[in-house]
Symmetry: D2
Subunit: 293 residues, 4 copies
């Protein structure tokens, strides 16, 4: 019998992910606060629910892809929430980025209602989401993650089991810290070269010819060449994630000196109105701190 | 007629580079301050000179692969120096990492003796040097770089023309800034994950499965897994390069906030006796600033 | 008729502050979780209550001097809490350091019970607390602060009215940010001089002879000379306050680049077991990042 | 017999210092590159020399108050330089701010000509220079410093003997590091308060009422209140000094994490055209990194 899936949160990431779920033949019921974002899913064959509760009703699994802890709480609780609709014995897979401490609390809370929790944030942005090529970072019961693997693989190319509840989220902190530092490193390096009179194109060719050759810098190359930063992953969301990362590092006792500097740059970028640009736009803050050209 | 090449500086990088030159059939004369390092070159078919002057005598091109500006000055000047042996009309290719301002001065100085100067630092460390797979960042007269390309390609897979004298060196500042920030980012990210209880192996698998997948992190993976840091590129040399980078950024008016933090971490690593380890050992300083495990 | 005062929290600061209240002739009822800390107050003429509720019963004003938001919540709520004992129309003066957002929420919460709230954290540590020489940073209704001024002046030399509810606390963020940066500046400067071979005593004489001459550095001088850091203000508390400060700065959109660096140093100090030392002990972290002597 | 003094460098600091020397009855010969700056000294009774050589001719002591190492070298060397005029057995007091390594080299160089060297940078800016209230940080032979103390006290209220040649300069690094960090701390703290809605006047009153009460913040108070930064000590000079400080710290193996952040802020201030303002204008860079008001 086909697994019945509820999917809540149809933003830049959630939309293509949900489409890939329905394409693989799962019976899908979707919900999004802004209703029109659900229309493409309807066309793709999903049922559009009128509330989180309705999306959860009768589902074997509910997937959440939301902007953070507050949004997750809002969708779970209340008379129209997921928990009002989901049966005991079922599973919630939270793919939203939240702090690990939140994931652990959520797992406890769901366990007390006999609902299994998997935290499964994704590594990759818009393009891999569309291609079903995300890397999925899973935490929770290993058996349960195994059971959900086919569903998860409808959205991604690989599931990496990270450990018990919260550890998928911990891994997300690790990779987003690395991504934000690399994006800042790219911004500082390219800005330095520009001030020295090097051509941006030659720099990107060099960076992509040596040990620094990586998909991240390939994605950012056209942004730096055109100096326009259409969001693959919005700067405001990276800033929010850095807040979680610094809090996680503080609780875990891990030094993050570069992380703190990077956060200050992203925070300044938000203040300068760059929130909705791609997070590579941190370069504009580095420019502002440099001599005028 | 075969081009005659002098090669001075047979360290970790210079040795395999010189070997690749001789393998391609160039007539090679080598010099190294510590004489025994020249022996493998002798076996490979090079002539071992007794001084920089002798290595330069009759050469069409002299290649320098030394530790910095002081070493270059020492090798060029004095009665036994390169300039005492090299004829007017010939070429010096400085592949050592120096500040761009030094490269520009050196070019002027050589020009006044009718010697052409190319600054051609390399992008890549020990392994690509052995494989002849370096990326070579060339500054100077474009025609002269073109003329030298076959020689340069005996050591590398690609020559990137960066601009006039000093611009090869500027590009080296750009990529080494990026490398040092990325190595620090990797150190902070992996350390954060370890404090959160993640397995290092799972982290490296994740990092190498997503947009951060790059040769640099592949090179560093066994170091982080074994917590031993055999030098591919020595930490003390990265620290020295960061000094040049910060000085270049200051002169060029480029902000390098992450660069400054990274320099402090590398400087601290030197103080803790990690100079001769690979520069990925910056992780040990991040650990010291973190809570004990 | 004498004003009746309840005082809760008799730590390093609360104890001498409460003593100064009773000395000025106020009728005082005190409570502390660890009961023996209340004994000196009993000797001084205060009544020792068995619960926050009892301390609040019949009081005109309840003063709180606790370690942070959680401690304040615990003391206010529950069947034995202050709010179970305090009458409508009375006043709570919270002198604990908390984030401004917490102060504003607390004010709202108390207002809904017709209780007036003043946030009045203090500027100054153990010694000025003993001498009744604290500077008191008051937020809330200006009329109510005026009314409470005589009581506040029993503990301090000066009351500075900072604005509506939460603004006393905002001012505390401002001065503690400054104090923590100055303590770090002193640590870096003295450590630099020591590495250069200067005598610590000569440095402190210099620093206290010029524009940097201030009580703060006078207090820290014996600590630096003896390299022992008996807490005037514990490092763990400064670390906690820095957490509030960075959060406040993030919410307010204020850049705090030095503040972030200072937090990382304090956080590292906590990890190295320096929590209970004076916050001037941040110097020991600066030493660890420096070359060995 | 009256001591004959040559004084070279009549900028913001040198002018009032030289005036105080002549006021105390010393026979003074002055030189300044821009000749009109010497006129007020002529009125005060000094002889105006036409070159450094002439100012040094017949002098017992030559005082230098210049912008840095390059300016000192220029004034000492060449056919019209100090060394062409000054007799063996005499003394040079360099009060310019230079790196300690330069002071040590200068001392050696003068010693080889049998000229005594004292490095005696000053602690204090324009106002104390006018009032003869500078603190003078002296390095060199202790006997020679003792001998020169009356002359030095014509310009200052106190001479602090710091140690052998270069140690006066080391002490200057220590205090300027502290000053620059404190000015940045003040900028971040006041900016934070402003973003929180506190009045700048109330903040300055608070800061000047507690342990942070110091002449430095009293000097800067009117600048922050009026948001105009007339130079007591120019931002460009503090930036230059920070360059020396970071270099000194690097050589000495001293960690200066806050110092590096502060340098980046000052460097950015220079890039934004604030060079000639007082160094308290670093606040404007902190503002730029913050949310708009």
């Amino acid at each position: 019998m086909t697994m019945k899936v509820g999917f809540i949160g149809l933003g830049i990431m959630g939309q293509p992910m949900a489409k890939n779920v329905v394409k693989k033949g799962y019976s899908l019921s979707v919900f999004n606060r802004t209703a029109e974002k659900a229309l493409p899913l309807k066309e793709a064959g999903a049922v559009v629910a009128s509330s989180p509760k309705e999306a959860a009703k009768g589902a074997d699994v509910v997937i959440l892809m939301l902007t953070g802890p507050d949004a997750v709480d809002q969708v779970l609780d209340g008379p129209q929430g997921v928990l009002a609709g989901l049966d005991a014995g079922k599973t919630v897979i939270n793919m939203s980025t939240v702090p690990p401490s939140y994931s652990r609390q959520l797992s406890e809370r769901l366990k007390s209602r006999s609902i299994a929790a998997i935290d499964a944030p994704v590594y990759g942005s818009k393009k891999p989401a569309e291609d079903g090529a995300l890397v999925i970072l899973a935490g929770g019961s290993q058996a349960k993650v195994k059971e959900m693997e086919p569903l998860l693989l409808s959205m991604g190319k690989k599931v990496i089991y990270c450990g018990e509840a919260g550890q998928g989220t911990s891994m997300k902190m690790v990779v987003n810290l690395l991504l934000s530092i690399m994006a800042t490193g790219l911004a500082e390096a390219v800005n330095l070269g520009q001030k020295c009179g090097l051509a941006t194109e030659t720099m990107m060719e060099t960076i992509l010819s040596g040990p620094t050759q990586c998909p991240l810098f390939e994605f950012k190359k056209p942004m730096l060449l055109s100096d326009t930063y259409g969001a693959q992953f919005a700067l405001k969301n990276m800033t929010k994630d850095l807040r979680f990362i610094l809090q996680t590092a503080d609780e875990a006792g891990a030094a993050v000196p570069a992380g703190h500097v990077v956060f200050q740059l992203y925070r300044a970028a938000v203040g300068r109105g760059l929130s909705d640009m791609d997070y590579a736009a941190v370069k504009k803050v580095v420019e502002v701190m440099s001599d005028p050209s």
